[in-house]
């Protein structure tokens, strides 16, 4: 019970931090500035297009949530060490594991609250605009996006114990973007190269996070049918397992870190 209270205090701290910094307000204004003029556009004088708006909206949701989640997580440890706010935290009667878990859970919940807000707005606008809305695909897309956020925050948390926040953002960003774009092409690339590079590409294929599996935007935009729920849960479990692995290593490192 005591641990839960400590955790909830740390989570509240992260939520206050997110909403105090106005990151959410800025990304929402940015989204409105991009999307509102587009919604009034009539290319060649013909109205009625909606899919391109959905596509751009979802792209912005992906970008903004990723930026918020990564920047928040990457700042957890290095910034607290730099600003020396880590010492009052460590002085409290809480283990380092609880502190790290609390900070991680706080950032994760803050990022997920942004995600839920954007998906809620997306669903609201689409149900108002058209009679048909693919709810099943929408829920699957949301679940997989939640899985994605769980995974990338854990990855950024692990990175924050190796690098400072800027380097962490760059390395994690390259890894995530690279896997989204080329994750499925790695075996083909490996087959085209000789041994040392082939082995590296195979290791990367098996160990790097397969972020491309969480992207259901095309399915949602073009009203494709839902994927099998078993596959959806497999991907969700994969994200949980990967995040738990990253968090486990991060905890081990943090417990041994000299602060």
């Amino acid at each position: 019970m005591h641990t839960l209270r400590q955790l909830s205090a740390l989570i509240r701290l992260s939520l206050y931090d997110l909403y105090r910094r106005k990151d959410l307000v800025i990304v929402t204004i940015l989204a409105v500035v991009v999307l509102v003029p587009m919604s009034f556009a009539t290319p060649f004088g013909i109205k009625g297009a909606s899919r391109y708006l959905n596509e751009i909206s979802l792209l912005l949701v992906w970008l903004f949530v990723l930026v918020i989640a990564m920047t928040r997580t990457a700042r957890i440890i290095p910034t607290e060490i730099d600003s020396r706010t880590i010492y009052p935290l460590l002085a409290k009667p809480a283990s380092r594991t609880v502190i790290l878990l609390g900070r991680y859970a706080g950032v994760l919940i803050a990022s997920l609250s942004v995600l839920l807000l954007f998906y809620g707005l997306y669903a609201l606008i689409n149900t108002m605009k058209s009679a048909f809305f693919p709810w099943e695909v929408f829920i699957q897309a949301l679940l997989l996006h939640i899985s994605f956020v769980i995974l990338v925050t854990a990855l950024a948390l692990l990175g924050s114990l190796f690098f400072n926040s800027d380097a962490n953002l760059s390395v994690s960003g390259i890894l995530i973007a690279g896997m989204i774009l080329y994750g499925q092409q790695l075996p083909v690339l490996a087959a085209e190269h000789s041994l040392p590079i082939r082995a590296i590409l195979h290791i990367l294929y098996w160990l790097a996070p397969h972020c491309e599996l969480f992207d259901m935007r095309t399915r949602l935009i073009h009203h494709w049918p839902a994927i099998p729920w078993l596959a959806c849960f497999c991907i969700f479990l994969y994200a949980l397992a990967y995040a738990a692995f990253c968090f486990g290593i991060a905890t081990w490192l943090f417990n041994r870190k000299k602060v």
Binding site: F44, A49, R51, Q184, P187, L213, W224, I235
Partner: protein, 268 residues
């Protein structure tokens, strides 16, 4: 810094840049290559700054429109908008996925990825969903003939807005004055949607004349198509002398293996 030196420093670099660029351009033209590949084909400021980036963006947007036409599928092989409706086999996608499913345990990532892809290959019949991407492709790259043609096709055939298609093609012709394809497309729309044979003949004549121009691409199929339409229009107005003239030109200058030329020679 004294005044004359400042003036000299301000004037000298532009003069040097202008003279050397002209020198390089002239000498490279003699060697047979262009010195400004980054400039695209236009002379406006955006062309000079953005250069070939505009072409790349235009092609990407055109690809996006093609994907929309295929219901979001990016891997649709050769089933392009131009070949739409000609009937093609979509079962190959299912075959590929079956083989992926068999290797689920060997490669779970590609198995899960295959689950995320669709098995259905549908063609979009609502042109309005394609038009934003075609519009963006044409705006990004005014020299992208494929984008202009595809946009005109979607406007005229799918959205039933031939007037808008004509306006787009006319703008495209202004931006690409030596292009034969756009003139042919304009003529076809004039015949098919407006039954305006007079203006269509002007368009096909322009297409034929442009096909003879040294700056136009040497594509015999386009020239043959222009000749066929010219013959077809002269036949339509019962001007048999003009028809024979076009047939004579076709016999003398074109290969008889071309379908359009064979069709032209069969007109009587």
């Amino acid at each position: 810094m004294n005044f004359p030196l400042t003036i000299t420093l301000l004037i000298l670099p532009p003069c040097l840049l202008f003279s050397t660029s002209n020198l390089i351009e002239n000498s490279s033209a003699r060697c047979g290559y262009s010195v400004h590949p980054q400039q695209g084909q236009g002379d406006n400021l955006l062309d000079i700054i953005a250069g070939d980036t505009r072409t790349i963006i235009g092609n990407a947007l055109l690809e996006k429109a093609e994907a929309y036409y295929h219901g979001g599928l990016t891997d649709h092989g050769d089933c392009s908008l131009v070949t739409a409706g000609e009937g093609h086999d979509h079962n190959h996608h299912e075959d590929e996925r079956d083989s992926v499913q068999s290797s689920a345990w060997r490669d779970p990532w590609s198995y899960l990825n295959a689950q995320l892809q669709t098995k259905a290959h549908v063609h979009l019949d609502k042109a309005e969903e394609l038009l934003p991407w075609y519009w963006a492709a044409c705006e990004a790259s005014p020299h992208n003939i494929q984008a202009l043609e595809a946009a005109a096709y979607a406007l005229a055939q799918m959205a039933e807005k031939p007037q808008a298609a004509l306006q787009l093609l006319e703008k495209g012709i202004r931006d690409n004055p030596y292009n034969v394809t756009l003139e042919l497309s304009r003529g076809e729309i004039l015949i098919k949607h407006f039954k305006d044979f007079k203006n269509a003949e002007t368009a096909f004549l322009a297409a034929y004349q442009k096909s003879l121009h040294e700056k136009a691409s040497k594509d015999d199929i386009l020239k043959a198509k222009a000749l066929f339409y010219l013959g077809y229009i002269t036949k339509h107005r019962n001007d048999l002398n003009a028809l024979q003239q076009w047939q004579q030109i076709a016999r003398e200058t074109m290969s008889l293996d071309l379908l359009s030329i064979r069709n032209l020679l069969e007109l009587n």
